[in-house]
């Protein structure tokens, strides 16, 4: 039956994706929730919680306030704390009960902004979607509200620059943990001669992100970054390239970034790079769409083996290859695993994998939280080590 998980984990939720995306930017994020969301997110999904003082709170919604529609309390409490703590911006994110009682988050955000004169955003999360949607909503809102306008984007884009300027969009610990992968992406781009304009949102402050409109091209490293890239394209005509720089994808993405910057064309090269291999998939990868198709492309290139991707998270089917599948629930996934010889997935998938398949542990913080954090490899830097050891 769909919606049941007899033994596997649950992906982090949209409300936590919002928190993870915005964690480092100096804003105040308020989860409109009774209790529990805060400790869940900060325990399992947020490796930066102990050492980085992000202003992330819950509203402590009560039964009586929900029933009586007492939104004034939320507005008061948020405004009061914001005026004391002076965040750079405020984001409200919802949980199931606010959705059920029809809480109008954009309207509440507007009220809070009136009271505090701090940019405020309401996001329609409800804890029933995956973290990918939350990241997407948060970054899209940043791109829409907080990136500074450029008076004449077309002139800015055609001005001579020594190097191509890139925004990296879609970086959170939920997909890349805190193992240095974000730094590896920056290092790779720099070594290829690109200039990092901003990193959404690990290792960049809000000031970098405010100037994201000046970039020549955006690199979308997870699906959570795509909506923001499209918003930046709409606002600044900045093209984007979709892919995570793993193994052979580094060269392909480097070329694609230059091509996109030169032509204004948006490029998603992962699927094309895999299409040359028509072997029956022997390897199955389960995970976030952009990371997984990029890893699939790298594995295919390195081993000449067919790879299928199972994506249990929100994405767009056109990003996936012909052998790939969307499969959200435990019972959706199990049939696709039956003929796999090698399965690359988070360890919490192992109990539903056939015993005769070779299981390659690739922990994913968005699925197993902090449980296997120490095992998560930096595939940007160490793909070859991973491939030689595991495949």
């Amino acid at each position: 039956m769909k919606q049941t998980a007899s033994i596997i984990s649950t992906y982090s939720a949209d409300i936590f994706g919002v928190c993870s995306a915005l964690f480092e930017l100096g804003g105040m994020i308020v989860m409109h929730d009774p209790s529990g969301c805060n400790s869940t997110y900060t325990t399992h999904d947020e490796p930066r919680w102990y050492d980085m003082d992000s202003m992330l709170y819950i509203s402590g919604l009560t039964e009586i306030d929900a029933i009586m529609g007492n939104d004034a309390k939320l507005v008061h409490d948020v405004a009061e704390t914001a005026l004391e703590q002076q965040p750079a911006f405020i984001v409200l994110a919802g949980s199931p009960i606010p959705m059920m009682v029809g809480t109008d988050f954009p309207a509440l955000a507007a009220l809070i902004e009136q009271k505090t004169h701090i940019p405020s955003i309401g996001l329609p999360t409800n804890s029933m979607h995956s973290y990918v949607r939350g990241i997407s909503l948060a970054f899209e809102a940043l791109a829409k509200r907080l990136v500074n306008p450029i008076p004449t984007p077309s002139l800015e884009k055609h001005a001579k620059h020594a190097s191509t300027r890139v925004n990296i969009i879609g970086l959170t610990p939920l997909d890349f943990s805190s193992n240095g992968s974000d730094a590896s992406i920056r290092q790779w781009l720099t070594s290829e001669g690109f200039v990092i304009n901003s990193t959404w949102a690990m290792g960049s402050g809000l000031e970098d992100i405010r100037h994201a409109g000046t970039a020549d091209v955006n690199l979308v490293v997870t699906y959570g970054g795509l909506a923001a890239a499209r918003m930046l394209q709409q606002r600044f005509q900045t093209p984007y390239v979709i892919g995570t720089p793993i193994g052979s994808m580094q060269k392909i993405l480097g070329n694609a970034l230059l091509q996109a910057a030169a032509t204004g064309e948006c490029i998603s090269p992962c699927t094309a790079s895999r299409s040359k291999n028509t072997n029956i998939p022997k390897i199955t990868i389960i995970g976030e769409s952009v990371c997984s198709i990029s890893l699939a492309a790298a594995v295919t290139s390195a081993t000449n083996t067919g790879v299928q991707v199972l994506c249990p998270l929100e994405t767009e089917p056109k990003l996936l290859g012909p052998a790939d599948h969307l499969a959200q629930d435990e019972t959706d996934i199990i049939p696709y695993l039956q003929r796999a010889e090698i399965i690359i997935a988070d360890p919490m998938y192992e109990p539903i994998c056939p015993q005769n398949a070779h299981f390659v542990r690739l922990p994913h913080e968005g699925f197993s939280g902090r449980l296997y954090r120490k095992e998560i490899p930096d595939l940007i830097k160490d793909f070859t080590i991973f491939k030689d050891k595991e495949l």
Partner: protein, 442 residues
């Protein structure tokens, strides 16, 4: 805007002197912060105390996330399953069908059926007015050999009735089937951690050779069912009151509250009540009190005037412990607690009158996120939250009393304070572990 001290904001309204604090809610309600100290048990940990049981949670993904990973970190995923509620279920109003079919699907896919199943529904079920009793009736019909218990992960109701913790603590005894009561059998009810054998409470029961049972020591479902044989239930965790009441009504087991305390007279009175129930003459604890005094003097000699901070996760009676420490000359400078329990009302007013300058800090006020968490001199913390908020590596790492009770508990706590004072701990690693005393895969 918050006033800054040494570059970080002051605690502001997150801190109040006892003389200005109000009982039982010393702090204004508002946004809430959650510190990284995670040693206290949650409903998953507590539910796992029932041997051969399985937990099924029916909620939104965000609510499932914390509980599923609690079970995973315990290494107990084989005893844990989930049913994800999605928007279509809210819109279509098929929550009862989802529960019945989801539980059926999960049970049919388990390699072995458990003896007992906890089903945790959520805030959404309350708000939708779900008719859950017929759903449970259908499940009992489909699986007559399995016992089902309705449990709740409904924090939105935390101020409207039983908290999820109280409810779970009650339901872990709901599988007990009525049995003939044994006159010389006694249960210790409501704790997550076993009470030490060396405590006077345990020793009294051993003295009369009665059978003492505790869910924390049950390894099989059969042992668990033996809890139904006790004629008397004793408890010292205040959160166990609903469980005690339910057992009294359902199984006819009498109850006795033997309050945890750090006041010698109160401890002696509780133990004398227990002795009376056991048919013993009132015990004399002068020797024990002298031993406590010796242990506390030894600790004081070592710790001297070093500042001490204490938090509510260490014990059910932090204010009582504060009084004991202050009475023995320890330099207790701060106490971390968000509310004051009714059991501590008397202690609260005593501290207000006699130690008006003692600082009371909230642990979840938003200002606690940004305020200074370092102390300029060595500080001893009692409890994980106190250790976190003061930035010390010298702390007593216990939650929920850690099984310490009575005079023996005081003596052992004094010893732990000495150990903590002399040996630094890895605070960051230790306090982030969930469920102190549980198995952890981290």
């Amino acid at each position: 805007m918050l006033k800054r001290i040494n570059g970080r904001p002051a605690a502001g309204s997150a801190c109040v002197k006892f003389k200005n604090a109000e009982f039982p809610e010393p702090f204004p309600t508002g946004l809430e912060y959650s510190s990284p100290a995670r040693g206290t048990w949650n409903i998953v940990h507590t539910g796992m105390l029932v041997p051969d049981s399985h937990q099924i949670y029916v909620c939104a993904a965000g609510c499932l996330r914390g509980v599923v990973l609690t079970a995973a970190e315990m290494g107990e995923m084989r005893r844990f399953s989930t049913i994800a509620v999605r928007e279509n279920n809210i819109l279509q109003g098929d929550m009862e069908t989802l529960l019945i079919n989801g539980v059926t699907d999960i049970l049919n896919r388990l390699p072995v059926h458990p003896r007992a199943v906890f089903i945790f529904t959520a805030c959404m079920h309350h708000f939708m007015g779900c008719d859950l009793p017929p759903a449970y009736a259908e499940l009992r019909k489909r699986f007559p050999h399995i016992a089902f218990a309705d449990c709740y992960m409904d924090p939105i109701m935390r101020k409207s009735g039983l908290t999820a913790d109280q409810s779970c603590r009650k339901q872990i005894y709901s599988f007990l089937q009525p049995q003939e009561l044994e006159p010389h059998a006694i249960n210790l009810i409501g704790n997550d951690l076993p009470t030490l054998e060396t405590s006077e409470l345990t020793q009294l029961v051993r003295q009369v050779d009665w059978t003492l049972r505790d869910i924390t020591r049950c390894h099989t479902y059969s042992e668990y069912q033996s809890l139904a044989k006790a004629s008397l239930n004793i408890y010292y965790n205040p959160a166990a009151k609903p469980a005690i009441k339910a057992l009294e009504e359902r199984l006819g087991q009498k109850s006795l509250y033997v309050p945890l305390s750090y006041n010698y007279e109160e401890i002696a009175a509780a133990l004398q009540n227990l002795a009376h129930a056991l048919g013993l003459p009132p015990p004399n604890y002068n020797t024990h009190i002298a031993q406590c005094e010796g242990a506390l003097q030894k600790a004081k000699a070592l710790i001297g005037t070093t500042p001490i901070a204490l938090d509510y996760t260490l014990t059910f009676r932090p204010l009582s412990l504060a009084r004991l420490l202050l009475a023995h000359g320890f330099n207790l400078i701060s106490l971390y607690a968000d509310t004051i329990s009714p059991e501590e009302k008397h202690d609260f007013y005593f501290l207000q009158a006699h130690h008006p300058g003692l600082l009371l800090y909230s642990t979840k006020h938003p200002n606690m996120r940004l305020t200074e968490r370092q102390h300029s001199e060595k500080l001893l913390a009692l409890g994980q939250k106190a250790a976190y908020f003061t930035g010390t590596n010298f702390f007593v790492n216990l939650v929920e009393t850690g099984g310490l009770y009575g005079f023996d508990g005081i003596i052992r706590l004094a010893g732990l304070m000495c150990d903590a004072f002399t040996t630094a701990k890895d605070t960051k690693t230790l306090i982030q572990m969930k469920g102190w005393g549980c198995t952890s895969c981290l």
